[in-house]
Symmetry: C2
Subunit: 311 residues, 2 copies
């Protein structure tokens, strides 16, 4: 059994490769839920949905998020009521949020609902939210001469990750419990893969849920990560805007140092082969591979190389 | 000021005529909410929405319900999750339900949200839910040799009004309070119009909210109704399936007898002119008019004739 720690789009692409390299049923993905947010009264789980839709082969590959063939009829109609519609929820996607919200309100835990949604999409891989409890990423930014805290999606989507980040916290994390199956999946895994996700706001919340970091530390020799930083910049997303203010160098060596206590190997891109020494200086074995997942085939090759690193 | 008691589609058509006959701002419509139901976790108010959309000129006139140019992307996507989708909520309509539900959850009373929705649609007529409290029509039907109670929409939409009705009750009505403005609108009105709506499940719930029937009785000489029964059958909808089991004759005379204690005049269709005597035998003045609202112009003429009856 293989266990992956996953954020959103980058992780989803890697997982789509992983389930080509090994049987999907042998993979468990533990997914960040600190980006979950309520929009229009609906519980939206962006990372869980990115992974589900991508593994179902239903994601919009050109756009990089959401579902293929998506439309925005409801959201455009909502604008009539003067509500904010900067978070672009599509019609097909809304069906998922309606279902999830109704099940949660009926008392089902997020892990149960996540399994139901994955099954409805024919996803054979087990997807686990990191926790059934509410954890929410809050970002403090500098604005108008002061420091203001906002929600992750407000900073990332509404404000296009432009406001300068001062600090990040994961509200609710200290009292959150890992979802059922999370610690077991970490203990029993032959290999644990930290997907190429934002180290601060995708992997960070997973590590902040009590018990998960300790479980990783205990299995350090089996933990391998893929650097989301290639050539000194994130492949996608705002990781650089978050890492630098938190004192993490925006480089694969910076990732290695941030992960060193629980991770024994880091897959870095060919373009960064010169940084292998700096990675190893952090006590993390460097493995060079093509990490630019242009296709599921490239992602599958990357997955094989990643697993071999801790075999 | 004119006050109307309204159900759904028939009332909406009449009101669209009324606001051509008199300034829209002089009309207050008190609308049945006992058909309100939760679908997919959203609060749906079918009658309020029918009236709003029709007065906004946005209703689907061919289909007879819902919005023009409607689509069903979300609902069709919801089917993936195995939920029941027999209540056909359109995408544009869903935006209204999302907005309403979120406002209600935030603590706004239905009357406030109704005003917000009407304003967003540019409706100049004041729309009031009959109550801000929860009243729900429950229908007992004969099935499989027994009597089973179901929700109004289950009987009407899911079961196409086919199961034989044994009885009807309005859950919550006895403790419901008229929404703010309802009793004032009845007391202050120059005329009170009971729209051509289902007497049992559209007008019935309004009468069941404590205070409303008494207010009508007190103004009986100013209350005029339009018969929803023409030629011994409802113009639209299942009124006959409900009236007969409850001992109300399916005729304009039957309507007259049901309304006689609070209503001094009944507008009946030309086709029913022979029934004028039976109507008047119930103590209700009969006014003959063309009640088949083929167009807003016909509805406007009907509205003028109706108002003249109690001028």
């Amino acid at each position: 059994m293989l266990t992956a720690l996953a954020g959103g789009v980058g992780a989803a692409r890697f997982l789509a490769g992983l389930v080509r390299a090994v049987p999907p049923a042998e993979v468990v993905a533990i997914v960040n839920t600190a980006d979950d947010e309520e929009f229009h009264g609906l519980h939206v789980s962006p990372d869980l949905d990115s992974v589900t839709y991508t593994l179902a082969g239903a994601s919009n590959s050109e756009q990089g998020w959401g579902l293929a063939g998506e439309s925005f009829r409801v959201l455009d109609a909502l604008a009539r009521y003067g509500v904010e519609t900067w978070f672009r929820l599509g019609d097909l996607d809304l069906a998922t949020h309606l279902f999830r919200t109704q099940r949660l309100r009926a008392g089902a835990p997020l892990s149960t609902v996540t399994a139901e949604i994955a099954r409805a999409w024919g996803v054979g891989t087990r997807l686990l939210p990191m926790t059934d409890d509410r954890v929410a990423t809050r970002i403090s930014v500098r604005r108008d001469g002061g420091v203001h805290e906002c929600k992750m999606q407000e900073w990332f989507v509404r404000d296009r990750a432009e406001p300068e980040v001062v600090s990040v916290r994961f509200e609710g994390a200290s009292t959150a419990r890992p979802a059922p199956g999370v610690l077991d999946a970490l203990e029993a895994a032959e290999a644990i893969v930290v997907c190429p996700s934002n180290p601060v706001i995708s992997i960070g919340p997973l590590l902040a849920v009590p018990g998960i970091r300790d479980a990783l530390v205990a299995r350090r020799d089996r933990v391998v990560a893929i650097s989301p930083i290639v050539g000194g910049a994130p492949v996608k997303g705002p990781a650089d805007r978050l890492m630098a203010p938190l004192g993490i160098e925006v480089s694969c060596a910076g990732v290695a140092r941030a992960y060193a206590d629980f991770c024994s190997a880091l897959v870095i891109d060919e373009i960064d082969s010169g940084a292998a020494e700096a990675v190893e200086a952090a006590g993390v074995r460097a493995v060079v591979a093509d990490t630019m997942m242009r296709s599921p085939e490239v992602a599958a090759a990357l997955a094989r190389r990643t697993l071999a690193a801790v075999a």
